[in-house]
Amino acid sequence: MSLSTPTLRILLYEGEGAQPLAAADRYAAISSLLEKGYAVTRSAADRPVAPADSSPMLVLGRFPGSPPDVAETDIPVHFHDITALAPAQLADLVETVRTDTGTAQHGAWKPWFPVIDYDRCTNCMQCLSFCLFGVYGVDGDRHIQVQNNDNCKTNCPACSRVCPEAAIMFPKYKAGPINGDLVSDADLQKEKMKVDISALLGGDVYAMLRLRSEKAKSRFSKERDSDKALAERQKCLIKLAAAGDIPPEVLMSLPSPEEIARRAEEAQAKAAAARGA
């Protein structure tokens, strides 16, 4: 699945040159398109809608004659008369136009991914080090970023539990504050819900992230005690399992201390490259 494919913009036009739809028909038409994953603009004279951009546009309406003229534009605009179409046929018509225009297909992926609240985030990088699937990265200023949304494991909120600031949301999660509800002091106190990522390592990977010299790196690896790391990692697994909503495949494949250290180095190198670009 590619998240960068352009999407088709659909405009339900009921202005001059078109017959308005009855409210029930309008609802049925818009609902059927939303259920297929499309976005629909319903235009009217009372208030603005978003302006056109370069996205291909499909204009739907009940056009008794020829469709209205369009001001000269580089945007590919398609018109379709929907007078005789039932909602299911309407969805089929739009699907045909979507295929013809090569625009994005919806619904192939459940949009489950972390969203960072930068008002809370302290850029500690625990989420980046923890995530198994390369969802996080850094920008040119070494600020944490969600970069590969579609790598995220559906229904796994594990990284929100390692964030010490409750800064990671999953808007489709069932409960607050992970769902975006306000963070209370009590939420921050719930240390039992938190997993200390540095415990996974038996050492301080974040100190290593800050100290870039080779000397610092070798000290880090000497100080790490593998038995202690293993014990801490097991403790971490138990805590995550107790949270009750981490998918088993994530629990089974928590990163090894070496993997976490490797990711931390990789992230740092890429941040340096981005800064130099």
């Binding site: 998240l3 352009p6 999407t7 913009r9 409210a23 029930a24 609802y27 818009i30 398109l33 939303l34 259920e35 976005a39 629909v40 603009t41 319903r42 235009s43 009217a44 004279a45 009372d46 208030r47 603005p48 809608v49 978003a50 302006p51 056109a52 951009d53 370069s54 996205s55 919806h106 619904g107 992926w109 459940k110 949009p111 489950w112 969203v115 960072i116 609240d117 930068y118 008002d119 809370r120 980046l128 390369g134 996080y136 990265g137 920008d139 040119g140 970069q147 579609d150 949301m169 808007p171 489709k172 999660y173 769902n179 975006g180 509800d181 306000l182 990711r263 990789e266 981005a274 670009a277």
Partner: protein, 134 residues
């Protein structure tokens, strides 16, 4: 000339059951019956994930009322898509906690009650060149 009312954005939260179906259906029905102009999107989360340019055009269209979920989530979904909402120009109505009646009334009212949470991060603080982890 008087200002036009804020534009309206409705999120159908298509790919999850976190917004009660009866609430989102009733809000959409009310919009359709009112005859006003509005934008309806299947799933703001999906649009944010694909950094859909539609989010930028929605964020830049001036004052906007958004029927979706928690204002904190909506604020950062737009931000993450590179299309930050202006804090004094956006009102988010939470379909997870409010009734359809409350939301419909607020959406159609002409006055805007901006309610995005405001914190240390300035809306202009956008990410710089990216460096993805492989």
């Amino acid at each position: 000339m008087s200002q036009p009312p804020p534009s309206i954005l409705y999120c159908h939260c298509k790919y999850a059951q976190v917004v009660p179906k009866e609430v989102k259906d009733a809000v959409l029905r009310r919009l359709c019956e009112s005859g006003v102009a509005f934008e309806a999107v299947a799933d703001l989360c999906e649009m944010s994930a694909r950094r859909d340019p539609a989010l930028a055009r929605l964020a830049q269209a001036g004052p906007v009322k958004i029927a979706a979920c928690f204002p904190r989530a909506v604020k950062w979904l737009f931000h993450q898509a590179g299309a930050p909402l202006s804090p004094d120009q956006a009102e988010v109505l939470n379909m997870r906690t409010l009734t359809a009646e409350e939301i419909g009334t607020s959406l159609l009212a002409v006055d805007l009650h901006a309610n995005l949470p405001v914190g240390k991060f300035a809306p202009s603080d956008q990410p710089t060149a990216t460096s993805a982890l492989a």
